[in-house]
């Protein structure tokens, strides 16, 4: 290689750095620095006394974490969050796939209309939606209990009953979120070459066989993506219980993020809250890894 070629490579590298710099700077400033700061925060006992005097902060190593692991409320919140994600996540994926298949069906009419309708909840503010659903779940005047009344079933206090509160929030979340993954599925379905179906039909495959052996395998990578973003989103449950139940009744809808918010902003135990955030980060990382592993094993 001559000196000229080296210069070109050098220039290219410099150009690459120049182009990457703004993006990297933003990531550094708004992601890596805060993450590092909160990691540091999580090994201190930053609390209201620290507000009065910064010298009241002590570095306490992993005591926040050990305390957290011994805190029954944390395990309750983690259990609630996993329940929400394990039931709500797969249901969202199934519903959105079913809706994508319907919206994408050759015989379907008014496709754009339906796609817009199903997508509308995604672009609506979650707080507004939660307030409206709170009315729908009202034990006396809610639409759901009106329906039960017609079926002669006694009214259910959806948000006031510890057993019903989480299912009620799961139902709302599925309705709110499936449109987004549905659009991704629609896009993926449209990317499947028509020839594959043609070949399958020539081989005598019926609709179910076509779905199992053509559609599902072709959607493989999409499933990984959808599964991961749904899991990440669902593990960060917060606005729905914050608006609708406040974490109650008897902590039945207290999520990990909600616990973090309460510890951090209600009691101002910032060190403790940062430790909650990091444990949640680990849980989400683990969930993502497991899904990637599971997909790799299958594909």
């Amino acid at each position: 290689m001559g000196p000229g070629a080296g210069d070109v490579a050098m220039n290219e590298r410099r150009a690459a750095i120049l182009f990457l710099a703004p993006g990297l700077a933003i990531i550094l400033l708004f992601f890596l620095l805060p993450v590092g700061a909160s990691l540091l925060l999580s090994i201190t006992d930053f609390d209201i006394y620290a507000l009065a005097d910064v010298h009241n902060v002590r570095v306490i190593a992993f005591r926040n974490y050990s305390q957290l692991l011994g805190d029954a409320l944390f395990w309750k919140a983690l259990g609630n969050t996993l329940y929400f994600a394990a039931v709500g996540g797969p249901l969202t994926v199934i519903v959105s796939l079913a809706m994508a298949l319907l919206v994408n069906a050759k015989t379907a009419r008014w496709k754009p209309l339906f796609r817009t309708i199903y997508f509308a909840p995604v672009v609506t503010t979650v707080v507004a939606v939660a307030v409206v659903w709170k009315y729908l779940y009202h034990p006396k005047f809610g639409l759901f209990n009106r329906g039960l009344e017609l079926l002669h079933i006694p009214p259910i206090d959806f948000l006031g009953d510890p057993h019903w509160a989480m299912p009620a929030i799961i139902l709302l979340s599925i309705w709110k979120n499936f449109g987004y993954t549905m659009i991704i599925f629609v896009a993926a379905l449209q990317a499947i070459p028509e020839e594959l179906y043609e070949a399958a039909r020539i081989d005598g495959a019926n609709a179910i066989q076509q779905f199992r052996h053509v559609t599902l395998p072709m959607l493989g990578p999409t499933f990984v993506f959808v599964g991961i973003i749904t899991a990440i989103g669902f593990l960060q449950l917060f606005p729905e219980p914050y608006v609708m139940t406040g974490g109650g009744p008897v902590n039945a809808t207290l999520s990990v993020v909600m616990l973090m918010y309460e510890q951090g902003f209600k009691f101002w135990k910032m060190g403790y809250a940062a430790a909650v955030a990091f444990l949640l980060f680990l849980v989400i990382g683990l969930a993502t890894l497991l899904q990637l592993k599971a997909q790799k094993a299958r594909v």
């Binding site: 796609r115 817009t116 659009i183 990578p221 008897v250 902003f265």
Partner: protein
């Protein structure tokens, strides 16, 4: 991994376009809002402009009282209403973000915490030359505003718990714990399938009222360690637990009680320890047949010579934030809202019990029979320990008492557990205090 999402579809683009339209609409509205706020901020000079944060319903109705204050003093008051559910974090974050108002309403149990972070202005210098006199207030309520011998708040309205009871089932309201047990036994004998009293197992207030009524301090005098092993507390706890053991009270948390008012009207229970807001609720929600069949009475005392028993001091106070630049104007507002005439008007607007004793002399308050017990009780109230951590310790009390009532824990275990938990919670406080004294 390769994700190929070729969203080539024309129709999907249209979905995105509608989003953009929404966005433009939002921007247009935003401009309008900006203009509006600009228009609103013009007015009198900033010198005469106070920011006041009111909480919940009180924050809503106080605006009706302010025109008179503005007319009298020429000071304009901007009231911002904050819902109670978000008030605590909103006040705290406002302090951290250097965005506190001049005056605010504050639950009086929060005062120790906001004092600890250094956000409150000491009011003693203002009180020395003021129309507000401590002697006009209920001593137990006033005490909730005092931390380390310094006054940080002026009571705005007051709150405590008394006993509501069915006059047809409890002919003679009990004055002592012994009489109380006898009355409960009487009710139980009359109607063996019902209960005598409702004590929701997840509410810590009942245990704490019995405990402070029995002379327990809950924490040691400096508020650095738990004092739950104190015999006064253990005795009160024993009395509380016995009410369940003997079948006087149902083992139910307040989420398991579908409708307190219906239960009370049906005679499911004949006594209920609760606060002033339920005077209005009982009138509104009990069926008309219950008219004249219920009344309130002060808390029974452990011994006859201690009657009436002590209850807890609740309510809300008005405070000035230390960062305020208009403290004199802020104090004028507090003085105005503390005038007996304004206290009466405030009672009419909110039905919150007035803090100023003179306001209790007007017929609407003085001649309302259920309020009489509150008037007596308010002279016998005591604050819960005034340390920032107490709210957390109180939730531990509620959790453990439920375990004892449900038979998962003994009284001895609960007392030891509460002391251990309180000592752990107060560890930072001990360290901070030790550091402050060593310097």
């Amino acid at each position: 991994m390769n994700f190929k999402f070729q969203i080539s579809n024309e129709k999907f683009k249209r979905v995105r376009e509608t989003r953009i339209c929404h966005f433009q609409f939002f921007i247009r509205n935003l401009k309008f809002l900006l203009l509006l706020t600009l228009a609103c901020t013009r007015g009198p000079s900033p010198q005469e402009h106070l920011k006041f944060w009111g909480l919940g319903h009180e924050g809503e109705v106080v605006a009706q009282m302010l025109p008179e204050f503005e007319r009298r003093t020429g000071i304009r008051v901007d009231v911002q209403q904050i819902p109670w559910s978000a008030a605590h974090e909103k006040l705290l974050t406002a302090y951290v973000g250097d965005a506190t108002p001049d005056v605010a309403q504050m639950g009086n149990t929060w005062i120790p915490e906001f004092k600890a972070v250094g956000s409150l202005e000491p009011l003693d210098p203002f009180l020395m030359r003021s129309t507000i006199r401590q002697s006009d207030y209920f001593p137990g309520i006033w005490a909730t505003n005092v931390v380390d011998n310094t006054v940080y708040g002026v009571p705005w309205y007051v709150d405590t718990r008394v006993m509501f009871y069915r006059t047809d089932l409890v002919p003679k309201p009990p004055r002592t714990w012994t009489e109380w047990v006898a009355e409960m036994q009487h009710v139980k004998d009359l109607r063996p399938n019902n209960y005598a009293i409702l004590l929701p197992t997840n509410e810590y207030e009942q245990v704490e009222i019995l405990a402070i009524g029995n002379g327990a301090t809950l924490l040691n005098p400096s508020g650095t360690e738990g004092a739950f092993h104190d015999p006064h507390f253990v005795q009160a706890l024993q009395f509380y637990v016995d009410m369940f053991r003997r079948g006087y009270a149902p083992v139910l948390s307040n989420t398991q009680v579908a409708n307190v008012y219906q239960g009370f009207a049906q005679g499911d229970f004949a006594m209920y320890i609760t606060g002033p807001w339920n005077v209005g609720e009982f009138r509104k929600r009990l069926p008309p047949t219950m008219n004249g069949r219920w009344m309130t009475t002060p808390m029974p005392a452990p011994r006859a010579d201690l009657y009436p028993g002590t209850s807890m001091a609740g309510g809300a106070s008005l405070i000035i934030f230390r960062d305020s630049k208009k403290k004199d104007a802020a104090w004028k507002l507090i003085e105005f809202l503390s005038e007996p005439a304004q206290q009466i008007r405030f009672y009419e607007l909110t039905q919150d019990l007035p803090a100023h004793r003179d306001a209790w002399k007007v017929p609407a308050v003085a001649n309302d029979p259920p309020l009489a017990a509150f008037r007596v009780q308010l002279e016998h109230v005591a604050p819960l320990p005034r340390v920032p951590e107490y709210e957390q310790i109180a939730t531990d009390v509620a959790e453990d008492q439920e375990a004892v009532v449900r038979g998962r824990m003994t009284i001895e275990q609960m007392v030891a557990d509460l002391d251990a938990k309180a000592n752990r919670t107060l560890e930072k406080r001990r360290w901070v205090l030790a550091r402050a004294t060593s310097r």
